[in-house]
């Protein structure tokens, strides 16, 4: 087999892998019907936030936190949680 034939086979396999990802994405979107399950429970329970960080009030519910979170214990308090360095302050508009 010539090297270019092997490359052609590799290209076909790469194409198939990309196609498989594409099909998987389409299947997952159809299976969960987009984001309908999450949207339904958010509506039903009146949720306001993502449960990504559960270690502190202001990381669990950033939208409901005090205006001066995370420095809510006393002014100038040091940030306690690593997530605070990942979650930035909301942009004032």
């Amino acid at each position: 087999m010539r090297p270019s034939d092997r490359l052609l086979i590799a290209l076909l396999l790469a194409g198939l892998a990309a196609e498989a990802c594409w099909l998987h994405a389409a299947w997952r979107q159809r299976e969960v019907d987009g984001h309908r399950a999450a949207a339904a429970i958010v509506r039903r329970l009146g949720l306001t936030d993502l449960a990504l960080f559960t270690e502190a009030r202001y990381t669990r519910h950033p939208t409901q936190a005090d205006r001066f979170a995370p420095f809510q214990d006393h002014p100038g308090a040091l940030e306690h949680f690593p997530s605070g360095s990942v979650v930035g302050p909301p942009v004032a508009r």
């Binding site: 949207a39 306001t48 993502l50 409901q64 930035g88």
Partner: protein
Amino acid sequence: MTPGSWLERQRSLLDYTLSSLARRPAKNLALVTVYALVVFAVASGLFLGEALRAEATAALQGAPDVVVQRLQAGRHDLIAAGEVERLAAIRGVERAVGRRWGYLYRPSSRANLTVMVPERFWGGDGEAVIGEGVARVEQVGVGETLRLEASSGESFDVKVREVLPPGTALFTTDLLLLSEASFLRLFGGGPDRFTDIALQVPNAREISKVAEKVLQLLPGSRAITRLEMARTYQSIFDWRGGLVMALLSTALLAFALVAWDKAAGLSAEERREIGILKAIGWDVSDVLLVKLQEGAVISGAAFTLGAVGAYLHVFLGSAGLFAPVLEGWSTLAPRLHLTPAIDGLQLATLFFLTVVPYTAATVVPAWRSATADPDAVMR
């Protein structure tokens, strides 16, 4: 030249390119591996950020239009039940609902739970509906009991009626849903006080006006609109995406240096090879084509491996490698079941930032060697 002979010529050149690559397997394999890892890291960040953003945007459409909090000395405080009717009377408000929710720290599992009373709880008194994360860290299932320590000091059991579907974990993983009576038993307090009040405003254009009226009616309170919630998450994802990109850009730059060094500076052996090819009658264009193919094969392979690997990592592996970053200090974090949302433009940008510069960088030095006198190059 007939199309058939042209094609055969290209194939022969490709054969030569691949044989040339195979002569230096360790070097090229190492390059493809590092290259693919860089693409994998950047693409994983892109996929995860985009999927979370899409999930948040879609689901938070169902969040309350306005949430009214009472502030006491600048901090969130309970609000009197009598305010529900006053707020419901504001023109444009269809419904006002008093909500009860709070946090419960569980020393046994060291997890913080969010305890809520749904407006229409579908269980009975003494029953609980829990998120998949709570079931995991507390090791309880449907039909089993969960012992709760009330603020009064007494302990009582609630029976798990249902575990919320894992597909909703991004929003519900730490939830403990109770009846109103169980909630009041757990935290104390009377039925005349709510945690906050959610308002439903059917006309989206009236939401900001309603929020203004709320502040007139209840000075010192805080009205958080759905737009503000969406904006908070928008800024979180922008910030995080920017942070990830800032961290990864150093890796990308380091790789760019290595790749540029590798691609731009031809080794003496490679220069000699080009000289021999020229001496036996190859055109400059043939030499350039071979070098271009070399760059395209390496960067194409690395990009495909990196991008497909990133897809598998984020959407089948629940972004496991990023989990420590996402979890922070929390004991209870959602198992991500993300719905793929891929921004084609971002992926195309990544492609053009990685594949095109590398391929181009291989051509310039080859052109320089190929245009020089073969005798001088081989010497």
